[in-house]
């Protein structure tokens, strides 16, 4: 019923949003398996919702892993029309996303914020993710598997980093774990950081030092690799998205819960 309604709207508007159509065209050119017709409508709506919320233009990289397209389609960077890379066979589950294997598997976003960041800058930056990040499940993401731009799935942990090198920690911790959760780490100034777990906001500080000159990796950090407990369903990086958080959460949550 909902799909039919969305489909009617798309039909009346004369087709898909140009950027979403560009994603489908890119995938077709690459020979990837496209999502089902119903899911294409949902994904088109996701792009429209991100645009309505003023979010789309602030993202530099964005991928939706939760899809019934194939794993190659799941790894499309919707903003750059290029590919994330599945390194050493992270597990892809249809309509869910990618998870790790504890030993060697990860996803390379192929996005280096130092050389490719446009909206993502030293003191105005965000990393957004939707998925399963339960407590004590390690390091969901980092710059090239190291300590820069690291997040930690552990309650009351201060080792969450965005443009603050490999040693600076947060002045105050945040509970930032859970399953089917939206998380974002936003740097809004030289010192200020705003974290969101769904719609719950935590403000803290950590002085920025530099933008990491490495690709951001998912399912890896601190020289270790995530267990299967960490599951990435959606991921993105761009400018700070604090005032847009409610619209961002609603757009992503609407998509995920519609699958």
């Amino acid at each position: 019923m909902i799909l039919a309604s969305h489909g009617l709207i798309a039909s009346l508007q004369g087709g898909f949003d140009a950027d979403y159509q560009g994603i489908l065209t890119y995938a077709t050119t690459q020979g990837y398996t496209l999502p089902s017709a119903g899911q294409q409508i949902l994904q088109n709506q996701l792009v429209l919702d991100l645009k309505t919320g003023g979010i789309w233009t602030k993202l530099d990289t964005f991928a939706v892993f939760a899809t019934d397209g194939n794993s190659d389609f799941a790894l499309i960077d919707w903003k750059r029309l290029s590919q994330f890379t599945a390194v050493n066979s992270p597990t892809f589950t249809t309509n869910v996303g990618f998870s790790g294997n504890s030993t060697s598997a990860y996803v390379n976003t192929n996005f280096n914020p130092s050389t490719s960041g446009v909206n993502y800058t030293l003191n105005n930056a965000s990393r957004i993710m939707y998925g399963d990040f339960p407590s004590d499940s390690g390091y969901p993401e980092s710059a090239a598997g190291g300590l820069d731009n690291l997040t930690r799935s552990s309650n009351n942990n201060t080792r969450q980093r965005i443009n603050q090198g490999s040693s600076n920690v947060l002045a105050g911790p945040a509970n930032w774990t859970g399953n089917n959760i939206f998380k974002s780490l936003n740097r809004t100034s030289l010192t200020n950081i705003e974290m969101f777990g769904n719609l719950t906001q935590t403000s803290t500080t950590a002085t920025s030092t530099s933008i990491s000159n490495n690709n951001q990796w998912l399912l890896a950090g601190n020289s270790a690799f995530s267990t299967s407990a960490n599951i990435f369903k959606i991921y993105g990086m761009g400018a700070s998205l604090v005032s847009e958080n409610t619209d961002l959460y609603n757009a992503l949550n609407t998509y995920i819960t519609s699958l």
Partner: protein, 68 residues
């Protein structure tokens, strides 16, 4: 105990960096400083072309990194 695949020098050279579609094989170091890759690569259809070579890799016990 987790079992992983460990290449010798010749196998490392032959397989490291193999790419097909959006998948890539890149050996990583374990906590004992040995090049390894998880068994999941054996069932990855994007690695079908090198499956027989992957099956020849030594199976060893994975050494995790110490928690910091």
């Amino acid at each position: 105990m987790i079992i992983v695949l460990h290449p010798n020098a010749e196998q490392y050279t032959a397989l490291n960096g193999y790419m097909h579609n959006s998948s890539e094989l890149l050996f990583v170091k374990d906590g004992s400083d040995r090049w390894i890759v998880g068994l999941e690569v054996l069932s990855d259809s994007n690695f079908a072309e090198i499956h027989d070579q992957l099956e020849l890799l030594e199976r060893i016990e994975y050494t995790p990194f110490p928690e910091i």
